[in-house]
């Protein structure tokens, strides 16, 4: 290494270093003096003050947890409230013989092994002098029995607590989600100070999404206690700020109509107001009683829910990804119009099947099996939607190619999360060559475009995405982020607009006309819905295959296992002139769209007319 000209002078360096060392020593001594002075000040000068404070910790700081915000539907019906509940808790620090106390308590009230186990877990994570819950929801009789014996058991306390309660249990389980006791992982992530005295936190759904708003801000009070921990007087008090009350766009009547119409079948209904994106109903069946989760669900109840083949904990409305089947056709029609590949008058020959050039494989139209022929010699867009003509869309899809299809369907919200204000939303799949390369590392085959053009194959959508897409058609291209929240503390929350889908009004007219025909024309695939209808409804049926059917084989509904039957789908909006509701319905293994269509009528009737007397056929 080239040295600078200046020479090192070891003696000078040593001298400088020694001077610096002494300087450092002086500074260190001064700072150590500051520390000594501080500890002297605390331990000698202010000794009396601190000793008094520490002795039996006479002055105690108590957190005052905020009241969790309430949740209402759009009509002001209370969907989630807080109810006083009495909890038997133990302050470990005040108990001499814990096992003895637990045994004595076991004689007064029933304590299950699960409860004791959970209690021991909580005991390990408690804060000092915190009352650790042992048994929830004491009955009147239990409280009376405890009152008699409690004086013999120091450290055992009965506390009144506000607990979340869901008056409608199953009905809103998936729409609202639920709160549960804070677990260890959550405890690490949340603001410790703001959650002192709070034991519950939103776990899923709206309860989770709006946790911050619903929770509020903690308050505290300084209390003087006696040696037994009994409060003698409150010295100072800072009231907590209660959580905000939420008004959701959900309508309990619409929600109930959808829930009851689904009955005991597995499925989902999502209804959206196309004018503002407000979600009117979000149902997934089977549901579960959200109240079970509030205080830690028993392992028996939980394994029952978890292991049920009907997966009741699965929110089909936002998590369920299904092939949209023929319900994709109105959007495909619009994609075709916008691409210029078709016009409303363009026709396609329909022998009942479609063949790719240079390929012998016949892509069958569903009508072939019934009539042995196509829908008509030549089919136009209107008929293709009205009668759900596959051949028309096979041809369109083939000419469009998959990547173009992807780009034109994307504005309807397929293939990505809508951004609804709840948890666990899944994005579905809007396939493209790029997607297949990334997801499966395989090339795209032309036949797959044919499947995709009728919403089969790789294409998957959640019921929410379908409802959102119909809502975009109903609003003629105006796009909103679907929202469950309508107002916070009565203060309306403005809808979130997205970039609209702008195109010719004539194109919207053409799609509307086809969808109106589905419900109202003599050949429409949902024509029995128009019976006694008092408004104009537009819709589109769909059927999604659950298992593949071999070429030439015949699908016979009675022969296949119930779980392998086709899913029935239906999308609709009404009234056509000025739509105020757009719905998407799926009935898992319903056999066909006829399982789903009557549900739409019941839901839309309820929204527009207040009630529905439409008969849902039993066969499902």
């Amino acid at each position: 290494m080239p040295q600078p000209i200046a020479l090192k002078d070891p003696h000078r360096e040593t001298r400088i270093y020694q001077a610096r060392s002494w300087t450092a020593i002086v500074i260190v001594l001064v700072l150590l003096g500051v520390i000594v002075f501080r500890y002297y000040n605390l331990q000698i000068t202010q000794y009396e003050t601190y000793r008094t404070q520490s002795e039996s910790n006479r002055v105690k700081l108590e957190p005052l947890p905020p009241k969790r915000g309430l949740i209402y539907d759009r009509n002001g019906v209370l969907l989630a409230d807080n109810r006083a509940s009495f909890t038997l808790s133990i302050i470990r620090e005040r108990v001499r013989d814990l096992d003895g106390t637990l045994a004595a308590l076991g004689k007064i009230i029933d304590l299950s092994d699960g409860e004791l186990e959970k209690f021991q877990e909580r005991l390990k994570r408690r804060r000092p002098y915190e009352a650790v819950p042992l048994h929830f929801k004491l009955t009147e009789a239990e409280r009376a029995r405890l009152a008699v014996d409690r004086y013999r058991m120091p450290g055992v306390v009965v506390e009144a607590q506000l607990l979340r309660h869901y008056p409608y249990g199953q009905l809103f389980s998936h729409a609202l989600g639920y709160v549960g006791r804070i677990n260890e992982r959550e405890a690490q992530e949340l603001d410790e100070s703001n959650y002192r005295g709070t034991f519950h936190i939103g776990k899923v759904g709206v309860e989770r999404y709006y946790e911050e708003v619903l929770h509020g801000k903690v308050g505290y009070q300084n209390v003087e206690t006696d040696a037994h921990g009994r409060v003698l007087r409150v010295l100072e008090r800072f009231a907590p700020t209660p959580g905000a009350n939420l008004t959701l766009s959900l309508d309990i009547n619409v929600q109930r109509a959808a829930y009851e119409a689904l009955g005991n079948r597995r499925g989902a209904v999502v209804a959206i107001d196309p004018r503002d994106g407000g979600v009117l109903a979000l149902v997934s069946t089977p549901g579960f009683d959200a109240n079970l989760f509030v205080n830690g669900i028993s392992s028996k109840d939980y394994s029952e829910l978890r292991d049920s083949p009907d997966v009741p904990l699965f929110n089909r409305a936002v998590q369920g990804q299904y092939p949209p089947g023929s319900t994709i056709k109105p959007m495909m029609g619009m994609a075709g119009l916008m691409s210029g590949l078709i016009t409303p008058d363009y026709t396609v020959p329909d022998p009942g099947w479609y063949r790719l050039p240079g390929d012998s494989h016949r892509y069958r139209d569903w009508i072939l099996r019934i009539r042995g022929t196509g829908h008509a010699p030549r089919v136009d867009l209107n008929m293709a939607i009205e009668q759900s003509c596959d051949t028309y869309f096979y041809d369109l899809g083939h000419r469009m190619t998959i990547d173009r299809m992807h780009d034109l369907l994307a504005p309807f919200g397929f293939g990505e999360r809508t951004g609804i204000d709840t948890t666990n939303e899944r994005p579905g799949v809007l396939p493209s060559k790029r997607w297949k390369r990334l997801a499966l590392n395989q090339p795209w085959y032309p036949g797959e475009t044919i499947s995709a053009s009728i919403g089969q194959g790789y294409m998957l959508a959640t019921p929410l995405q379908l409802a959102d897409a119909v809502s975009i058609i109903a609003a003629r291209g105006v796009r909103h982020v679907p929202r469950l929240l309508r107002a916070i503390n009565g203060e309306p929350v403005p809808p979130t607009l997205l970039k609209p889908l702008v195109t010719e009004p004539a194109y919207w007219d053409a799609i509307d006309k086809g969808m109106v025909a589905v419900v109202n024309s003599a050949h429409g695939t949902a024509k029995n819905l128009s019976k006694g209808i008092q408004y104009q409804m537009a819709g589109k049926t769909g059927t999604a295959q659950v298992i593949g059917i071999a070429q030439g084989a015949v699908y016979n509904e009675d022969e296949v296992d119930e779980r392998h039957r086709h899913h029935g789908l239906f999308i609709a909006f009404a009234p056509v002139e000025a739509p105020t509701i757009a719905v998407a319905i799926i009935v898992e293994n319903g056999g066909g769209s006829s399982a789903a269509t009557p549900i739409a009528r019941r839901v839309i009737d309820t929204w527009l007319l207040g009630s529905s007397d439409f008969e849902v056929p039993d066969n499902g």
């Binding site: 360096e13 610096r20 150590l32 520390i35 500890y39 605390l42 331990q43 000794y47 601190y50």
Partner: protein, 380 residues
């Protein structure tokens, strides 16, 4: 120069003429070792009480000590020349690892500080506490001292890169410690007072923009809470209020071992880690605190003495920086628990439970011992 020294025959030096003692051959500084052992014993004693009389915790900590002492003794065997040769490479490797942490690191509570390799997790910023002063000392050792402006700027650059990387993790406490350890080298190298005062003035002037633009919300919160703990009684203020009560109620003589009501009843948070001094103060009183401070002061004294007797400028600067960094630990921890300084995650050296910081500190003492047992070449 260093290699030249090694080749010198055994004449002209009284120290070398004497047969080296066993301690010297093993590169052990006996006074320092005895002081560290005393502190270790004291620390374990307090830990038993602070951990809620959990003997398992003491055994676990004992194992950490064992590892730390082994690391220290191994560190002492390496010659200073070798440290100086390795310093640039260690520094470059360390900075690379810090960049890796930024890109692939794992973390908790919004801070990305660890690197996970297999099932093993480590915190590279910890190693930098030794590497940064070593790099600066190595950079300056060959120059004429006091360093000229250009070399001061170079040293600042060496300090700034890792400090900035750690600051963005974000880990303000460690970043400041590392910056300090590098700056201590400069200070001990004898940079002019005008630079030091200039820096102090500049720091004061930049406090406002730092507050407005640099500090994270949680850091500001800590400082505000420090200034007025009453403002957040249930959160950050809770710790300080509780620890002050624990310390104050200890009085002169303390409540007795295992008798601290505040600590034994678990009022005190983190009683066995960062806040362990509060347990000590409560149970052993001011007497116990002064005993501890005396031990610390003796260790610091020994560190300064080793520095002043060191043979090379590299050894001198390392000794000075390591000693001062050790002092910073003591001062910041004891100050924060007593409510003098903001709560930054700095453990009480050699007393707080935990392994990572302990090993680093003891590795530092290993280097200090290497400095102390360096071959003498000049007769004083």
């Amino acid at each position: 120069m260093a290699d030249y020294v090694r080749q010198m025959p055994h004449h002209g030096s009284a120290d070398l003429a004497r047969r080296p003692s066993a301690a010297q051959r093993l590169h052990i500084d006996v006074p320092l070792l005895l002081l560290l052992l005393a502190l270790t014993a004291y620390g374990l004693f307090v830990l038993y009480s602070a951990s809620g009389q959990d003997f398992g915790a003491v055994v676990r900590q004992g194992r950490y000590y064992l590892v730390a002492y082994v690391v220290m003794l191994l560190g002492a065997q390496i010659s200073l020349q070798r440290y100086a040769r390795w310093a640039p490479w260690l520094y470059v490797a360390g900075v690379c690892v810090l960049v890796a942490v930024m890109l692939f690191g794992v973390g908790a509570k919004g801070a990305q500080r660890w690197l996970q390799i297999g099932g093993f997790r480590f915190q590279p910023s910890e190693i930098m506490k030794l590497v940064v002063p070593m790099a600066v000392a190595c950079f300056l050792a060959d120059r004429t001292l006091p360093p000229r402006f250009l070399y001061i700027a170079g040293s600042l650059g060496i300090v700034a890169v890792p400090a900035a990387l750690i600051l963005q993790q974000p880990d303000l406490g460690t970043a400041l410690l590392i910056a300090a350890s590098g700056l201590f080298v400069l200070f001990m190298a004898g940079i002019g007072w005008r630079y030091i005062f200039g820096a102090v003035v500049a720091a004061a002037a930049s406090a406002w923009p730092a507050w407005m633009f640099v500090l994270q919300e949680y850091q500001k919160q800590r400082i505000l809470t420090m200034l007025n703990p009453e403002s957040d009684k249930l959160g950050a203020g809770w710790n300080i209020i509780q620890s002050k009560t624990a310390i104050g109620s200890g009085g002169w003589a303390g409540k007795g071992w295992l008798m601290g009501t505040q600590s034994q009843l678990d009022f005190l948070p983190e009683s066995h880690t960062d806040f362990i001094i509060a347990v000590l103060a409560e149970e052993f009183g001011l007497r116990g605190v002064l005993t501890l401070l005396t031990l610390y002061a003796l260790i610091l004294w020994r560190g300064f003495v080793i520095g002043m007797h060191a043979q090379t400028s590299f050894g001198r600067m390392m000794a000075g920086s390591l000693t001062l960094t050790f002092f910073v630990y003591v001062f910041v921890n004891m100050g924060m628990v007593a409510g003098l300084l903001p709560v930054v995650g700095v453990p009480l050296p050699l007393v707080s439970a935990g392994g990572t910081a302990l090993v680093t500190l003891m590795a530092g003492f290993g280097i200090l011992m290497a400095v102390s047992t360096e071959k003498r070449m000049v007769v004083h």
